[in-house]
Symmetry: D3
Subunit: 286 residues, 6 copies
Amino acid sequence: MTVLDPLPAHLVDDLVRRTLAEDLGLAGDLSTDAAIPADRWGVADLVARQAGTIAGLDVALAVFAAVDARTSATAEVADGDRVDVGTIVARVQGPTRALLTGERGALNLLGHASGIATATHEVVDAVAGTGARIVDTRKTTPGLRALEKHAVRCGGGHNHRFGLFDAVMLKDNHLVAAGGIRAAVAAVRERIGHTVHVEVEVDHLEQVPEALQAGADSILLDNLDDDALRAAVEVVAGRAITEASGGITPARARAVAATGVDVISLGWLTHSAPRLDVALDLRARR
Amino acid sequence: MTVLDPLPAHLVDDLVRRTLAEDLGLAGDLSTDAAIPADRWGVADLVARQAGTIAGLDVALAVFAAVDARTSATAEVADGDRVDVGTIVARVQGPTRALLTGERGALNLLGHASGIATATHEVVDAVAGTGARIVDTRKTTPGLRALEKHAVRCGGGHNHRFGLFDAVMLKDNHLVAAGGIRAAVAAVRERIGHTVHVEVEVDHLEQVPEALQAGADSILLDNLDDDALRAAVEVVAGRAITEASGGITPARARAVAATGVDVISLGWLTHSAPRLDVALDLRARR
Amino acid sequence: MTVLDPLPAHLVDDLVRRTLAEDLGLAGDLSTDAAIPADRWGVADLVARQAGTIAGLDVALAVFAAVDARTSATAEVADGDRVDVGTIVARVQGPTRALLTGERGALNLLGHASGIATATHEVVDAVAGTGARIVDTRKTTPGLRALEKHAVRCGGGHNHRFGLFDAVMLKDNHLVAAGGIRAAVAAVRERIGHTVHVEVEVDHLEQVPEALQAGADSILLDNLDDDALRAAVEVVAGRAITEASGGITPARARAVAATGVDVISLGWLTHSAPRLDVALDLRARR
Amino acid sequence: MTVLDPLPAHLVDDLVRRTLAEDLGLAGDLSTDAAIPADRWGVADLVARQAGTIAGLDVALAVFAAVDARTSATAEVADGDRVDVGTIVARVQGPTRALLTGERGALNLLGHASGIATATHEVVDAVAGTGARIVDTRKTTPGLRALEKHAVRCGGGHNHRFGLFDAVMLKDNHLVAAGGIRAAVAAVRERIGHTVHVEVEVDHLEQVPEALQAGADSILLDNLDDDALRAAVEVVAGRAITEASGGITPARARAVAATGVDVISLGWLTHSAPRLDVALDLRARR
Amino acid sequence: MTVLDPLPAHLVDDLVRRTLAEDLGLAGDLSTDAAIPADRWGVADLVARQAGTIAGLDVALAVFAAVDARTSATAEVADGDRVDVGTIVARVQGPTRALLTGERGALNLLGHASGIATATHEVVDAVAGTGARIVDTRKTTPGLRALEKHAVRCGGGHNHRFGLFDAVMLKDNHLVAAGGIRAAVAAVRERIGHTVHVEVEVDHLEQVPEALQAGADSILLDNLDDDALRAAVEVVAGRAITEASGGITPARARAVAATGVDVISLGWLTHSAPRLDVALDLRARR
Amino acid sequence: MTVLDPLPAHLVDDLVRRTLAEDLGLAGDLSTDAAIPADRWGVADLVARQAGTIAGLDVALAVFAAVDARTSATAEVADGDRVDVGTIVARVQGPTRALLTGERGALNLLGHASGIATATHEVVDAVAGTGARIVDTRKTTPGLRALEKHAVRCGGGHNHRFGLFDAVMLKDNHLVAAGGIRAAVAAVRERIGHTVHVEVEVDHLEQVPEALQAGADSILLDNLDDDALRAAVEVVAGRAITEASGGITPARARAVAATGVDVISLGWLTHSAPRLDVALDLRARR
C-alpha cells in the first residue's frame, strides 16, 4: 500500500464542506431522513466498477464523517493503488442515514480524482522506460486544482507549476512585449526570487538556442513534430529541461517520449479525463 | 442570440474568486508582472478552437473584471449558442497584464461548462423529435454543480433535481428500509412539503405497477432494456413521468428515446464530458 | 421522544459560529473570564419557563461544545416534544465559564426556534381533524431559514418551498408579464426540470378553472373569503392541491381548514411568532 | 428626514449575501427567470401596509443591487422615520426580473428591522417625558444582532452592550463564584480595561448599597416591583445608573419609568416584536 | 502557572487556519512530505532562545493539531509566564511530518505574541509601584488585534478599547466638527448606550477643565510634557481617568508614570515590538 | 514613480475586509457617527512623519473606499518610493465620517508594510555594489505574508520562497531522516515537479561539497562566520546559489555581502521591523 503525500487538511475540509453544502442545501436529504429510521446502523463498501487507479480516497471518506461524526471508515487500498472491477476500496460504517446521505458526494470526489489518476497512469505506462515524465498543466477544473494535481501524482505523474505564482512561464505574448527572449528572461530574473524556475515556450526549433543562451531553466517545445523535438533535445544537450506540449494524446505519448524530451505535459489529464466508476454497496446490519 | 437564465450573482462571485485565488496564490502572476509593462493596453479575443455549444460565458468574462476592474468585455455570442472552429466568442480589452493573468481561469471555466453544453447538445440532437428530455444527474464535479447544471440547460437539456434537498428519489435502500414502495412513499409524503416531487427507482418491470399505486410522481427505470422500457411506458400510460437511466451512452440515447420514455438521464454529461477548446488570442494595441 | 430529521451538520456549524462570533467579538466574555476561576466546574439545566414545543435543541447544545470542547450535554427532550413550565429540556456540564459564556447564544437559538414550533403547534392543533396542513412561507428571518423551517416541522407543520430555487410560484406579476396563466405555466414547464412543482396564485375564484386547465400542480387562493375557498375546493375537485393564504391568523385557521383546502400557509409563523422562554439554571459543583 | 448612523458596510454586504444565498440557492429564481423576459424593465414601490417606524432600509435596498447591478433605488423616507399605511418607503427601478427576485429578501430584512423599530418606538413614546431610556438586551436573533440593535436606535431606543465583549455585567452566578459583590467588582476592575463599564445585577433592594460601595457603574434591578425600584433610585441617588429589567411589558413601561430609573431594558423588543408589513408594488414600464 | 483569559475558540480557529493556508497553499509541505516517511513519529520541544514573556501558546499549539489530529501537545508554561534562554515552553509529539510542517506557523504566532508580551512586561516593570497602568492602542497589526491585545494582557498590561465600536474617543477633528468639547460630549452621550465610556483627547492643559465639565469619563493628555501632565492630574483630581499618550517610549514611561497619570498608552507595544525568538527542537523517536 | 507588481485583488479585498471588521465590529464608529454630521465632506492627506520607503499604499487607500464608496483617493507617491518627513503620500476625499472611520485601518496597513520596506531598503543600501541580494524568510506575521513579501520587494529586496509549497528547503531534520544529503535530494527530486527549486541547508563548510554533488540548486549556509562563507563561495564556484542566513543584522549585512554570497536572508525584515509613522491630516472642506 503506497503512501503518498496527502492533501493539506484545510483543503480537505474545504472540499468536503463545499461538496455537502451543495448537495444538502437548507433542507438536507429529504428521501433518507423520511425513509430510513434514525437508529438504523449499516455498513457500506465502496466498490470499483471499473479497473483503474485510486485517488482522493481520504477526502471521499471524510465526507461521511462530516455528515455524521459517528461514522468510521477503513481504507482497503490507498491513493495510488490499482484496483480491478470489484475491488473493495473502503468500508464505512455508521448510521445508515449518514451512509446514504454522504454517498453521492463521496463518490463524486473519488470518481473524479480516480478518473484523472487512471488516465495519468495509462500515459505513464505508455512511456515506461523512456525516462520521460508525464506532467499536468494549469488546465484544471476551477476549485479543484489541488485535488486534481494530487490525482496526477497518484497516477504516477508529476506536477507542473501549481499556478501563476510558483514558477515563470514566458509565452509568446510575454516574449514579444518584453522585446525578445533574452530581454524577457533578464527582466524576469531581475525581479523574481532566486528559487523561481523560469521556463520559456518556443514554437520553432530556431528559438531553442536563444532560450538556452537566455538562461532558461526549461524550454517548452510547443506543438513541434517528433523530428523537431528530437533535434531540440540534441541542441539542448542537457543544459535545460525539455518539455513537449501541445495536443499530445495518450496514443502519441510513447512516440514523443522516444524523442528524448524530459517532460511531456498533457492538459487532457485534468480537463477531459472521464471519471472512474466507483459505487457504494450498502449492507444492512441493524 | 438566446438569453438563458443566468447563474445567480453570488455564485458567479464565488466561482471567480475561487478560480483566481487558486491560480494567483499570494504572489500573483510572476511572469506577466515581470514581463509586461503595467501601462500596456490590449484587446483579446476568446476564440473557439472546436465546434460546440457555449456555456459559462458570463462567469468566464467576470474573471477579467475581477483581476482588474478597468477591463471590459463584450460577448459576441451567448450561452446556448453554437459556435464553429474560429468563432469569436467574446472580446476583452484592458490592461494587457489583466488579459494574460485572467486567461487561464476564464478559459478553464468556459471550456469546462461549454464541454458539458456541447455533450448535452449532441444527445439532445440525437433524440430530436421523440419528445424525450435529456437531463443531468447529481454526478457532478464537487463545487461546480450550479455551473454544470446551467451548462446542461445551455445544451438544450433539462435539470433533474439539484440535490438531496429539492426532490425525493427513493432508491432500493430506501425502499427496503421503509418496508416496500408503498410504505416508503407514504412515509415520505407524510413528512415532506406538498411541493416536493417523489420519484421511485425500480429495477424490474414488475415494480412499476406498485410504484404507480404508491402514487409516485415519476418512476426511474434503472438499467432496463429497450423492450422493458417500452413495456413500462405502456403500463404507466401517462399516470407518472417515466425516466430511463443507467449507463445510457450518447450512442444509445436515440433508441431509448424511441421507447417513449419522458426523460433520459445521463451522468456522463457532467462527470465525463471533455472540455471544449477555447483559446485567447491577444492582439497588442498600445 | 420523537426523532425528527436534524439540520445538516454544516448548517449547525454555521449557526453556532455566527452566534458566538457575534457575542464574543475579539475580547470574549469579560465578566466570566474575570469573575469565574478557570478550573471551576459546573452543571446547568436548560429549563422551560413557558409551556410550548421545543425546536433547535441540537444547535443550542452545540453552542456549549463550541465554546469549550470539554463540555458535554444531554438532551432530556427532543425537538418536537411538548414541554411545560419547569420541564428540564437538557443538562450541560463542563467548565463553569463555558456554561455561562454559551448561555445567551444557546438560549437565543433555542428560544427563537421553539417560539416558532410552539406557534405552529397551536395552529396545527386548531385544525386537527380537518386534513388541512399548516405550512410556512418564505417570510423568514434572514440567515435563519433552515432553522425556522425545521422549527415549523417540529411544531407539526409542513414546509412550503425553501426558496426561489425549489418550486415555482407564479404570482400576478409573472402571469401578466407572460401573457396569462396558460402562457405562463407553459413557458415555465418548458424550461424547468420535471421534478419542479408549479403553483399558480389566484385572487379570484374565476381564475381557478384557468389555472387547472393550465396544469398547475397547486393553486394558491390568495385572500379569498371562506365561501370562495369552499367554492374553489369544489371546482378543483382534487385535480390540484389547494392552498389558502393571505393574512390568516391562528384564530381564523380552523374556519379556513373547514373549507376543505389542503394547505394553509401562514407567514406569521416565522416572521412574528414570539420566542419561547427557556432559561439556564446553573448548579455549582466544584 | 432623520439621518442615523448606518450599519458598517461589511455587515450590510454579509446580510445581503446571506439573504440571497438562502433564497436563490444554486438554481436561482425559477419562476421569474422562466416567466419574465430578460429585457423587461420595471419600477417598484416599497409600500407600508401598516403604520410604524422604518429601519433597515439601506440593507433592504442593497438586496436589489446585489441581484443585478443595473437596478437603482431611491429612499423616500429614512431609517427612523414614521410611516403610515400606504406611505411609499422607497422606489426601485431596473430589470423586472431583479425586482421580483430581490423582493422577498428585501422585505424580510425591512419588515424584521422595522418591526423592532416600531415596537421600540411605542415603548419610547409610552415613557416620554420621564427621562427613562428604553434599551435592548442581548436577547437577539442569532446572526442579526447588529441590524436589530440598529433597529432599536431607529425606534428611539438606545443600545445596551452589544455582547459579552464590550461591557461587564455581573450576575448572580458571577457574584457567588467570586465571593460577593465587592470581591467580584474588584476582581473585574483589576483585569478589564479602564474604558469598560461594570454593571451589577441585584435581585433585592438590600444589595443596592453593596453594589454602590463596590463601585458599580450601573446597577441592574432585576424583577423588583415599582416600590422597590423607587426605593432603589433613592438609595442610589445618582451615584450609579439604575436599570430596571425583568419581564417589563410595553404596557408596564410607563409605570416603571415613573419610579425614576435611568434605563429600562426589554428583551421583548428584539426577541418577540412582530414584523412590520411592507409590500412591493410592481409597476410595469417597458 | 498563571491562568489568563484565553482567546475565544473561534478566533483561535481562524488564526490557525489562515496561518496554515498561507504556508501550505495547494501543494503542502513539499520538503517534508518527500523527505520524511509518513510513519515516522517524533517529539519536539518549543524552546525559548531569548528571555521574555510568553503569549499565544494555545494558538501556537493548536497549529500542530490542525496539521494532523494525531499530534498532542503539553504546555510547560502558560501565557503570561516569564521564560529564560533555554526554557522549554511546550512539548509536542506526533507524526514527525506534522511537527515539521507546523513548526514555522506555530513559531510565527508564538514569537509575535510573545514579543509584544515581553515588550509590555518591560514597560510594566518600569512603572512598578507608581499605580499607572500600561495600555495598548488601536495601532495593531491588521488581522491580529485580538491576539495582540491578549499578548498585552499577558505582559501585565491592560487593554484600551478594542475598536471604534466599544468606547468613544473624541479627538480634535470630532471636537471641531461638533462645535467644541461640551457640544461633542453632549451629542455623543445623547446617542450612545449608557455603558459606553467617553474619552476626550486634549492637546493643551487649558482644555482639561472643559473636558471635565463636559463630563468626560477619561481625558487623553496628548503629547504633554511631564510638568503639564502633573498639572493636569492635579486639576482633574480624580474626577476622570487621566491617560498620557503620544510618543511615549519605554525609557520615558517611568517619568510619565511619576506624574500621577492613571494610564499610559503606547502604540509601540503592538506596532513595533520585535518578536521573541522561540525555536523548535526535534528529537527523533521512532 | 516606480510601478511595482501589485498585490492580487482578492488579497487586497481580504485584507481590507479583515481590517475593517476588526475595527468596526457590530456597532461601527461610535465617536464619528455621533460627532460628525453625515453630510460633512472633507479632504485628508496621508503624510509621512518619518523618512522611509512606502509599501502597501494601494491596500491602505482601498480601506477608505470600503468604508464608503463615495470616497476617492489619489496616490502622490507609489509603492517603492522614498519619502521624507512631511511628504504627502496620498490625498483622500469624501464624507468626513469615512475619512475618520477608515484612518486607523489604513494607517495600520500602510505603516506596517512601509516599516518593512524601509528596513529592507536600509539593508539593500548597505550591500549596494556587492551583487548580493537581500531576501526575506517565512518568518512573517500570520495572515500578512503576501503584504509583507510585497513590502520587501518595495524596499528593493527580493523574495525567498512564499511557503512550504513553492520550493524545497532541506534542513537538518530532513537530511537526517532521509539518510543524508544525497539521499534526501534524490528522494525529493523523484517526487517533486521539475520546476521546483531545491535548497539544502548546511551548518558546516564540510557539507558544501556533498550538497553540490547531490545537485542542490542552492545552498543555505547557516550561521557560518565570514571566513567560512568566503570559503564556501569559493568551493561552490557558481555551481549553485549561495545563501547566507542566521542572525544577520542590518549592521553585519555589508560584511556578509563582501564574502561573495549571492543571497542574504533576514527574518528580522518581516518579524521585527518597526512600523513607519504615517499620519492622516484632515482638512475640513464643506
